[in-house]
């Protein structure tokens, strides 16, 4: 490699390591992310064409603005962001790691002079006696020191929160871990949905990306119900009772699944997501012959007919769950064996209503049952634990990076004209103002100790 090539490589390397690139990428990510919050994402083309002219639409589409968070340029920005993270860590981590693993027990004079928290005293006594006193002092006031000899004499070294220096790198690494978790989820997982009518079973789900996925087991919806808060339309609970059969055996029996309480089986999780009516209502109608105690119940769906013992035919013509303010109401067409046909209206909330008609038969609407289907979201995401690991490290790493600081203290003892020259030197890798205050107090104690 020629010298010029080397400088080009070095320049590229420096570019990818630079803090300016980080700031630039973060700001560009922030600004471009706005686009997808203003333009609704992943809508059908017709919807966009209502807002934009054809020309604008094609321009925006070619820029992938309609699915921008998965566009080549946005992914590219995220890759640039990751490369920047990796490069700056590669550049700085070895030095920091060395500082953590191999503290500078006997720093050079140049290094000592570079610190601003310094105090110096000249004391009488032997080197060894002063060392003992100061070892006790440092242990009491800060942390127990190690003693080494070097060019200037004896060096006592103590430090605290050494690993705080790694907080930044843990934070950086955590972001990469989150990305890895997201990629795992995208490659090996899926998002799907399935609608199951009450009583029905499925063993496949419909992928959001198109196509179907086999579950390898079956899910049955035993029951679905929706409840409301008293006297209001405000929903209180959507509840599906799900049964899972695997290899013909019931493994989960009638487990209630509500919003915020999903069901997991073999890595696939089912979430209560929507519901809707499945087919018509089933009514239970009671028929009583006037003057007798005998009553017979019939279950009818809309349009269904039934034959009474006296050859009268009835047919459920219509039903509504709420007729004006009167609640559930049904209309029956009644065809006696030898008379004109007529129709009657039954109200569930007014069971005596048909009695007052004075007819031969007394009909009452006992109850009705609406069949629903439950809409479930089905998700398989083997990467989600990796994401949570990354998130935990992100929070812990940033707390360490922000609130802990690696504090170091040296006491350098050198013999000088029959006396001992004692130097106290302190350094903190962050939050200097707080350390200065601390060092000022330490300095006072130090002077008192040696006085």
């Amino acid at each position: 490699m020629s010298g010029q090539q080397r400088t080009v490589v070095a320049a590229i390397w420096d570019f990818f390591c630079s803090l300016k690139l980080s700031i630039f990428t973060l700001i560009v990510l922030a600004i471009t992310s706005i686009i997808g919050t203003v333009i609704q994402q992943n809508r059908p083309a017709e919807e966009y064409l209502r807002f934009f002219s054809e020309k604008t639409y094609h321009l925006l589409n070619s820029l992938q603005f309609f699915d921008m968070y998965h566009s080549w340029w946005f992914i590219g920005l995220l890759i640039l962001f990751s490369v920047n993270l990796v490069c700056c860590s590669i550049k700085r981590l070895p030095r920091v790691w060395k500082l953590v693993r191999q503290p500078q027990f006997t720093p050079s004079e140049t290094l000592l002079k570079s610190f601003s928290n310094v105090d110096e005293q000249l004391v009488t006594g032997s080197l060894d006696e002063v060392r003992q006193r100061l070892e006790a002092f440092v242990t009491r006031e800060f942390a127990s020191p190690v003693c080494n000899s070097g060019e200037a004499g004896l060096y006592l070294y103590a430090d605290k929160s050494r690993y705080a220096r790694l907080g930044v790198y843990v934070t950086h690494l955590s972001i990469l871990i989150i990305f890895i978790g997201a990629i795992i989820g995208n490659l090996f997982g899926y998002k799907a949905f399935v609608n199951i009518p009450e009583g029905g079973s499925v063993d496949q789900v419909w992928l959001r990306s198109g196509g179907v996925a086999d579950l390898g087991f079956s899910v049955t919806c035993e029951d679905f119900s929706v409840s409301f808060y008293d006297n209001s339309q405000r929903p209180k609970e959507y509840r599906s009772l799900l049964t899972i059969k695997d290899g013909g055996e019931v493994v989960i029996d009638k487990r209630p699944v509500i919003v915020n309480d999903p069901l997991s089986y073999k890595g696939i999780t089912f979430y209560q997501s929507s519901y809707g009516p499945a087919g018509g209502e089933v009514l239970s109608v009671k028929v009583k012959l006037r003057g007798t105690d005998k009553a017979q119940a019939y279950t009818l769906q809309r349009g269904e007919r039934a034959l009474l013992p006296d050859d009268t035919r009835i047919q459920l013509v219509d039903f509504t769950p709420s007729f004006r303010n009167f609640g559930p109401a049904a209309r029956l067409q009644v065809q006696p064996a030898s008379a004109e046909a007529f129709s009657v209206t039954l109200f569930k909330n007014f069971p005596d209503f048909d009695d007052q008609r004075g007819g031969e038969h007394i009909f009452t609407l006992e109850d009705f049952d609406q069949k629903y289907y439950t809409g479930l979201q089905a998700t398989k995401d083997p990467g989600v634990w990796v994401v949570w690991l990354g998130c935990t490290l992100l929070v812990l790493g940033s707390l360490v990076a922000f609130f802990l600081s690696h504090r170091r203290l040296w006491v350098v003892l050198s013999e000088k004209q029959g006396k001992v020259r004692v130097r106290l030197v302190g350094s903190a890798h962050r939050n200097q103002p707080a350390f200065e205050l601390y060092f000022d107090r330490l300095k006072e104690a130090f002077r008192k100790e040696l006085a």
Binding site: S22, I27, S33, Q41, D230, R234, V259, V387
Partner: protein
């Protein structure tokens, strides 16, 4: 006594405290500063009680199963002003810079006024999507973060005023209202400290939101506008934190980033709900 009446008293206390802090800037005097701080503390304690009372009230409505009062726009705005006071008072306890109060209390007062005058304070039981403990964790962490950013924004505005005045040469011991401001260096440091508190809280807020979304809908991230905006806010403050250790970016540029960050925060909190469509709605 109902919580609504207590919240009115809280609003008055924050107004009084705000006026006292501004009076302190103009008149100086330790006594005024102390009075302003104590009024703020009194308002804060009253608000804590009022939120507790409202919590109790959620159990009293027909069919009410009770819930932490952070579920609709009114409750969240009230809670926001409470967190602003909490973070401000903690910072004040440590750094004792009463002038900052004049730039932070207005946020809390505005929030309370808006909530009391314009927002619907009906207590309604929770819809199924909100029936989760994650709601409480998510709201608490997010709003503590937002509150720290509000304090940072107030301090940054002070910084810009201070620096602009010093450039005019109008400073000195008799530098008018600005004379009571802490030095530019202290303001820059306070700005950083507040964001240092806010950033991990915002991260935690986003994470608890993602965890909840994953638990309720099976997807921890769906690029919903609210999620995206919280990430935008995160990007801005991440840029701020890196800017502070870059030469030429500390001071003025950092202060501007902090103000932009808070503007984005407010948009994330309110703008997204009022202007954009998405998953987060405050049940109108």
């Amino acid at each position: 006594m109902q919580s609504g009446q207590l919240f009115n008293l809280v609003t008055i206390a924050y107004f009084a405290s705000m006026v006292l802090f501004i009076a302190f800037l103009a008149l100086r005097g330790k006594l005024i500063a102390r009075l302003a701080t104590w009024t703020a503390v009194a308002g804060f304690l009253l608000q804590t009680g009022a939120i507790g009372l409202r919590w109790y009230e959620t159990y009293q409505i027909p069919g009410g199963a009770g819930y932490a009062p952070m579920s609709n726009l009114y409750e969240s705005v009230v809670f926001f002003s409470w967190t602003i006071l909490l973070i401000y008072l903690l910072i004040d306890l440590k750094y004792r810079q009463p002038a900052v109060g004049a730039f932070v209390l207005p946020f809390a007062f505005l929030a309370m006024t808006w909530a009391q005058l314009r927002l619907d304070d009906t207590i309604s039981p929770l819809v199924p999507a909100l029936q989760s403990n994650w709601l409480t964790y998510h709201v608490i962490t997010c709003f503590l973060g937002y509150a720290a950013f509000a304090v940072a924004c107030g301090v940054s505005i002070m910084y810009l005023i201070k620096v602009a005045k010093e450039k005019d040469g109008g400073s000195g011991p008799a530098g008018g209202i600005v004379g009571q401001f802490p030095s530019a260096k202290v303001l820059d440091d306070l700005n950083y400290k507040a964001i240092m508190i806010g950033f991990p809280l915002l991260s935690l807020g986003i994470i608890t939101g993602a965890a909840w979304a994953n638990y309720a809908w099976g997807t921890y991230w769906s690029w919903d506008p609210k999620e995206t905006w919280s990430l935008i806010v995160w990007f801005i403050y991440a840029a701020f934190l890196h800017a502070r250790i870059t030469r030429g970016w500390a001071g003025r540029r950092a202060a501007v980033l902090s103000i932009v960050g808070f503007a984005a925060t407010i948009f994330c909190y309110l703008g997204v709900n009022l202007l954009l469509a998405g998953l987060h709605s405050y049940g109108s």
